[in-house]
Structures are given as structure tokens and as C-alpha cells.
Amino acid sequence: MYITHTCLYERMSGYDLVDIEVTHESADDLFDSLSEDSNRGDHLQSIQAVRLQAGQPDSELRSLKELDENSVKLLEHQVDAAYRALFEMDGKALLADEVGLGKTIEVGMILKEMHFRQTDESVLILTPAQLAKQWQAELREKFGLDFVCNYDDEFEDFDAHDYIIASIDTAKSERHRETVLKRNWDVLVLDEAHYVKNEETDRYDLIDQLSYNYAFFLTATPIQNELTDLYNVVSLLRPGLFGTRDVFHHYFVNSNQETLVNRDELQDRLNKVMVRNRREDTDIDFTDRTIDTRTFDPTPKERELYQAVSNYVKGAYSQDQGQKLVLMLLQKEVVSSPVALKQTIEKRLYEQSELTHADELESILDLIDEIDTVTKQERLLDIVEEARDTVEMGRVIVFTQFRATQQQILDRLASEGYTVHAFHGGHSSSEKEQIVEDFEEEGGILVSTDAMSEGRNLQFCNILVNLDLPWNPMRVEQRIGRVHRIGQKRDVFIFNMALNDTVEEYVLERLYHKIDLFQQSVGELSSILSRLEESGTSFEDEIFERLVNAGSEVDLENDFDAMAVDLQEQRDLANKLEEFNSGVFEGFDLGESDD
């Protein structure tokens, strides 16, 4: 039996309605059953069976109970976002929490759940380059999910692995594009989704052409320049949700581009695809963070060594730019510890026979041998001693970039009678777990390299020392993030150590303090740095180039100041964007539902 409905729906401006056809299926079975003399069973049970057949299988995050509570603390808004994205948005969602609310955790939960339900045969996570490794570590350590990253040695190509984290620019590159597009991915995750907002870019094109069943896009600022950005990002996820570009413009955007109109209707539609939690609606409450930067005068011998190394690096670089990485290493090591420097130089001297500046390096070795007092290490004792008296079990975590420095500090602290723990990349993951456990139980000092990655929770400790400083702000924030995180109940103290008139002091005073680095969250920082990265240079390179190319001390200071101005601008831009987005979405309920 067919009945076709003629519909006289109110026509919304801008589009025609499609046909609608109603088919009434036959009821012969029911009539037959009526005429049967006796039914075979209990009618009530048949009704219940029909109602159960129509019911959604119990939708809950079943994988939650499998998570290790020590590895990840889930917050209500995160669980809620994961739930909505999976079950209410049919697995296609824009996760647009404000910065710092843990969107990565939300995705981790989603992926874990999909893994549990076996709907994740192939997963592609696209991120900005500098976040790829962090994603990998976080998913592994918090959720037990193993992904290959395009920066790993074992990475072959996009058709060779099933769980891949890659920078979006690698994926869109000529070399890989075809392989990426050829595959039908089960799940696509796109971090910092606002970078694909422009429909005329290669990035947009890549996402537009990718084929996938489920997709989760992340951004704290869905709108970058104009409200059309929102249209573009949402249309990638749900083509047609907003109708055509023209309709979106006429219907939702006030002609001056600054405000949204018909907000109720827009909210209804956004609610089908977007989750946005606001900080003020969550129970996240960070404790205070106090930064104590201590600079010291080096001893005359240390000063002499620093000068010698800096001159060597400058001279060698002007002759052969190909040595950049090792020269950069020397420049970083000289402010970390003489012993770190020594190892690298010896290695170069004895392993590369045809080395040009051998005699210069030999003389640097002599200078190293003359040093008997390492200022930073002496001053470190002040900090740990104070901690021993004032902090629970005297727990302090000391970060250094170099294993040689680490070993020397460990020896020194142990000889002073401190309980020490070492943490570096050479440990197996079960050893690492044991180390963190011991540190919590025995107290004392944990000396760690930057192998202490995202995912390890050290919130039982609230004092952190940066014995030397990475030239990469993300690294610095990652260190701090180990202790200053959700679950930290005490105020956190960060000590930065630097020698006066060294590169470290410049980086610290002229760059990091200028952008309030030590007060930024990872999210805020990544939005600053991603913008910088758009211009194609890394932060480390910027620092190094300035250092070796400056003609004079004054030049150098000016150069660093100029870089700081750039950074400040990026930061201001990022802040403005945040504000703009909160303004636009103000009054929209796109977060936790009340029911």
C-alpha cells in the first residue's frame, strides 16, 4: 500500500524541499495471528521483545573501567564530550572546548571505546608537526593505545600501518598524498582543525577528499577570521548541515560579519555536531604557579669556557653550515654542564679524524678540565636543601636535557646524602613506572631528562627545577605539565637556573618571560607556536641563527627583543581569537547536557 504525502510545509528561504514518500507495510501477519485459534506464547513477551529490538543497545563508555586510574584522571565534562561525540553525534563531531580542558583526553576516550568495540581497524590522527610525538606518548601512556608516528624510524608509509599519527603537512605532501587518499580510514582525528578552515588550501583539500567513517575534529577556536570558517569546518564533518554557503550567510550571519543571527536555530544545528565546554562550567581548578628564576655569575673559568665555545661555534658555523645540529648541541651543553660538553667534544675528536678545528677543540677540553666548581650544581643544593625542610618528603624534580649532566648531579646529590632517583629514555616502561613509584614512596630528588614525557603523573611533587632550558617552549611546558596538572593540590614552584650573560639568560629573560611562557598552558602555547610555525622555521633555529649571526652584544640583544615582539604579537592574536570565539559562542549551550 502506498500513500504519497503532498507536503505543504512552510518553505524556508533558500532551498526546495525534497520529496517524501510514505509506505505502509502490510499487516497480514497481524491479521493471520488474529485468526489463529490460539497463540503459541505470551503476548506480553512478544511486546517486550519488540520493544527491546527497537531499543538502542545500552550505550555507555564500556572501556572506561579498563583505564588505569593512575595514568589518567577523567573529568566529567570529558567523559560527557566523548559520550556525546560517539553516541549522539554518530561519531562525527567537532570537539571545541576552550583551551586547557583536555580535548586530547576526550579523543583518547573515544578511540579507546572504539577499540573496545572493534570499530577502529584504521585510525589516522593528523596534528601540527610539533604536537605529533606528544599525541603519541599521551595515547600510549594514558590509554594504552599504540600509534606509529611519521617521525618514527619504523614508519614506512600511510598504507603500511593501521594506527598512524602524522603531521598534516606530511600527509598532504606530494610523496604521501596519494597513499593517504587511497585508503578508506575508519577514524580520522584532526587536531587544531582551524588550520583547515580555508577551503582554498591544500590542507582543506586533503581533508575534503579523505574518506573515513568517523571523524573527530579538535579546536578551541573554530572561528579564525570570519564566521565562514565555522561553515567550512562544520561542512567538512557534516556536509549540508548548514545548507549552502549562501544560505548560511543570509540566514546566520549578520551582514557586518561580526555577529551571528538566528542563534536558536544555529545552536540547534551546532548541537548536532559540536561540543564546547567552557572553563567556568567545569570543575577544573588549577593551583597557583610561582616562578623563581635565579641567575648566577659564572666563575671566571666558566666564563672563559663559555666564551671559547661560543667563539668556536660561531666560527665553525660561518665556515660550514652543515654542522648546525652538533654546533647547536655544543652551545646548549656548555650552559648545562662541562661534563656534558666534554663527552660530545671527545666523541668528535676521537671519532672523526679529519676534523678541521681539532686544536681549538683540544684547548676547550683543557678549559673544561680546569673547572672545579660548577656554579649551577652548587646553587642547586640551596634549592633542594630548602625543599628538604619545607616540602613533604623533600620531593623535588630536576630536569636536564643531558644524560651526562644528569649523572653528575645524581652523584653529587647522593654524596650529599640525598635520596636520588634517575629517569631517562634508556629505561623500559616497567622500569619507568617503578622509578615514579619509588620517587613517590621514598621522596628525595628525581633527576630526569626530557624522556619524562606526557602521560606520567607526578602531581604528588610540587617543586620543579629547570637546571637547563630547552630552546623549545613546548618542551618547557611539557616539563611543567608533569607536576602542574589536574590533581595537583598544592601550589607549584618552578625554579629556573641560568648563568648571567649566556644564551640561556637571553632565552629566559628576553623570550620566555616576555610571552609569560611559564604561565601558559600547552594549549595556549601551541596556538602561539603553530602560528610561528606557519612561517616555516622552528623556534630552536630562530634562536641559534640569532646567536651565531649577531655582530655584537648589542645586536644580539636587539635580535632577541625583535623575536620577543613577534612572539608577543602571536600571543596577543591567540588571546584575541580566544576572546572572539567565546564572544561568538556566548549563550550557546554546546556543552554538557543537563539531563
Binding site: H24, D42, A49, D90
Partner: protein, 387 residues
């Protein structure tokens, strides 16, 4: 309107399975993580006779042999059980007992007036047909949506009884193990018109949802049409460029023909001929494309809109004859020292069937404007306040 589907939780799964298996005559021994079910040879079921182990919840099965099965919302065993149970007895009869609590209308519940006593006097036994419909809505741009809806119609008057449908859903929840039931007495001839009425009603009830999905599908179609239009626009621009390139080349060749020596003239003539036919072809394509554009690509539009069109399928799955009673209820109302008795039409499972108007303004008493004074007939809140 309430959704008739029920959430399939593990406990619902276990409750239903146990009750169904026992009603078939199976016996069940419980352990913590599994049940052992014995299906006697005489049992009328598709489940193989003999002993089965049902492992509760998910996880790897203990053994691969056929007698070990999993019991959870998505397990094959449970799904099979549901199919069998659903087909077993799609029609039947249930009664709504009148001894259950008498439902006070909202316009009394929301007021300060208290009900001292309520007495139901049934006058007639009535029957209604309650039908569970599966409504499936399909379109390319959205996931298929499915609803299960209950519609109740009085057997004699064909009056729509939404409240009775709700009572029916309460009565048949997964928790309820016993309801007075039997075989339906309705004949096919009696049932047919009732079912037709119910079909119309169920469409009306989901109309809002249908409209919403309809609009979404229409928007999606529109985007696609727009995308196609832009693509063609782009193609036209490309062809136009090619067109003018060719035309320039032909001009160049004509120049050569006029000025060149014999050999190159012949060569140029030959080339020009080739290009000209290419040019004609291009011209034709371009004109055709422009024509289609000016007409708004009607075939393509039709094709896209057809693809996005909505298919709604309405399938009646069960039909229940529900016995209920109609009569009157005496509500003894008090408000302070005042008291009054009101007699109202009432049905078991459907509540008060009469509307009551304010004695003063003649407006219908409602949840928003409940009764306030009972001394002088029933007066509404608004009138009482105005005094």
C-alpha cells in the same frame, strides 16, 4: 509522545532472557558469571535442545563449542531470542485494572485544593486497539532513523487515546512479568479499520520529527546542487579559455595561409581544418553547457533531489486488544474548611476524560491555570486572584 523502545541494558537482557526461557519450560542454574540452561526435548523453540552455557556480559568466550553462548545486548544469542519471542504472539489481549490508583487531573494536582477521596464507578467495559509501529525514515544524507511508537484507538468510537498508549507502555515494561492477558477477540474485519486509523495517527504524531529530517535532507540536497553548479561554472570558464585559445590559433593559421609559401600553406590549411572541427565541437559542448546552466541543470537537480528524497516506512508489529473501563469518578475536594464533590468522566488507563471550565470565566482549567476556589462552583486561579 513517548518512545516505545526501551534501553537494552544488561539487566534488561538478563531479565527478559530468564523469563522467556522459563516460560518455554527451560530450567536455569545460576552462577556468578554464567548460567546453565537446559532446554527439554519437548520445547517448542529454535534453540537447540540440550544444555547451554550462557556467559554473562562481554569478553572472550570460554570455549568455542556450540553450547557456550554470550548473553549481552548485542550478542547473537540474545538477538535470536528476541526475534523468536517477537514473532511468537504478535496479537493478544491485555487488561488495565481499575483497582490501580486513580489519577488526579493536573489542574487539581497543581492547586492548593486537596483530594480527600476519589471513587471510581465503572459503567462500561471498553476495548481499544493498541498498535506498535516501527517507523523507519531513510535518506542518503542522514543515518537511517527508526522509531517505535504506540498508538491507541478505541475499538468502537475510533477515538484516539494517547493516554491509554502510555499506560500500555507502562504495563508492558521489561520489568513487568505478569499482566492479565489472553487471546484477542477482535476479528480481522473489526481490526482493519482500527489499524487504518492508527496508521494515520502515527504519522501525525511523528510529523515534527519528520519535518525536521525533511528539512535537513532538503538542505543537504541543496548544498549538493550548489556544489554541482559551481563545478559546472568552473568548467565553463575552462572551456571558454580553451575556446579562445583555439580561436587565436586558427587566426594565426589563417594569417600563415595568406602569407606563406605553397608548402607551408598546405600544411597550415590541413592544421586549420583540424582545429576548426575541434573548435566546432568545443563550441557545441560549451553552448550545451551554458544552456543547461541557464535552465538551472534541471535533470541533475531532479536526480540529486530524488536521491535525497525521504522514504518513510510504517510497519505495524504488534496489535493488542486492551480492555479498560469507563465510568465516573467522584473527587471529594477540600480547600481549608470548604468541601465539594465533583463527578467527572473517567477511564482506567486514560484518566479523566472530561474538560472542566471555570465557573466564573468559562476558561478550561489546566496545569497553567488550575482550580483555586471551590466554594462557588470551581473557579480558576486567575479569577480567584483578580478578586
Amino acid at each position: 509522545m513517548t518512545d516505545a523502545a526501551v534501553p537494552v541494558t544488561q539487566s534488561a537482557v538478563e531479565q527478559f532472557t530468564e523469563r522467556y526461557l522459563r516460560s518455554l519450560g527451560c530450567s536455569i542454574e545460576h552462577s556468578d558469571d554464567y548460567w546453565v540452561v537446559s532446554v527439554p526435548d519437548t520445547t517448542d523453540t529454535e534453540i537447540p535442545h540440550g544444555k547451554h552455557t550462557l556467559v554473562r556480559g562481554e569478553g572472550a568466550p570460554d570455549g568455542d563449542d556450540d553450547s557456550t553462548k554470550r548473553l549481552h545486548p548485542e550478542s547473537a544469542f540474545f538477538q535470536r531470542l528476541l526475534r523468536e519471542a517477537a514473532e511468537r504472539s504478535p496479537t493478544g489481549k491485555l487488561s488495565i485494572e481499575s483497582e490501580s490508583d486513580i489519577e488526579t487531573p493536573k489542574w487539581i494536582q497543581r492547586s492548593d485544593v486537596e483530594v480527600q477521596n476519589a471513587q471510581f464507578v465503572p459503567y462500561y467495559d471498553r476495548t481499544a486497539a493498541v498498535v506498535l509501529f516501527r517507523v523507519g525514515i531513510e535518506t542518503v544524507s542522514e543515518y537511517q532513523k527508526e522509531f517505535l511508537r504506540a498508538v491507541a484507538v478505541d475499538s468502537r468510537s475510533e477515538e484516539h487515546l494517547p493516554r491509554l498508549a502510555e499506560s500500555f507502555l507502562e504495563l508492558t515494561s521489561v520489568e513487568s512479568s505478569e499482566a492479565p492477558s489472553g487471546s484477542a477477540e477482535l476479528t480481522q474485519t473489526e481490526a482493519r479499520p482500527l489499524l487504518d486509523t492508527a496508521r494515520e495517527l502515527v504519522i501525525n504524531e511523528i510529523q515534527d520529527r519528520l519535518d525536521e529530517i525533511h528539512r535537513e535532507a532538503s538542505r543537504a540536497a541543496d548544498s549538493e546542487v550548489e556544489e554541482y553548479r559551481q563545478l559546472q561554472e568552473h568548467r565553463i570558464t575552462e572551456l571558454q579559455e580553451e575556446h579562445s585559445n583555439l580561436s587565436a590559433k586558427i587566426n594565426d593559421l589563417s594569417e600563415q595561409i595568406n602569407t606563406g609559401d605553397e608548402d607551408s600553406r598546405v600544411q597550415a590549411l590541413r592544421e586549420r581544418k583540424e582545429l576548426k572541427s575541434e573548435y566546432e565541437e568545443l563550441n557545441e559542448t560549451l553552448n550545451e553547457l551554458r544552456e543547461r546552466r541557464d535552465g538551472g541543470f534541471p535533470e541533475r537537480q531532479r536526480e540529486i533531489r530524488e536521491r535525497h528524497s525521504l522514504d518513510v516506512q510504517v510497519t505495524p508489529l504488534t496489535l493488542t486488544e486492551v480492555e479498560y473501563e469507563r465510568g465516573e469518578v467522584d473527587f471529594e475536594l477540600t480547600n481549608g474548611s470548604r468541601g465539594q464533590t465533583v463527578t467527572l468522566g473517567y477511564g482506567s488507563g486514560i484518566g479523566v476524560t472530561e474538560t472542566v471550565r471555570c465557573a466564573s470565566c468559562d476558561q478550561e482549567l489546566s496545569e497553567q491555570d488550575p482550580v483555586q476556589k471551590i466554594s462557588n462552583g470551581l473557579e480558576c486561579q486567575r479569577c480567584a486572584k483578580e478578586r
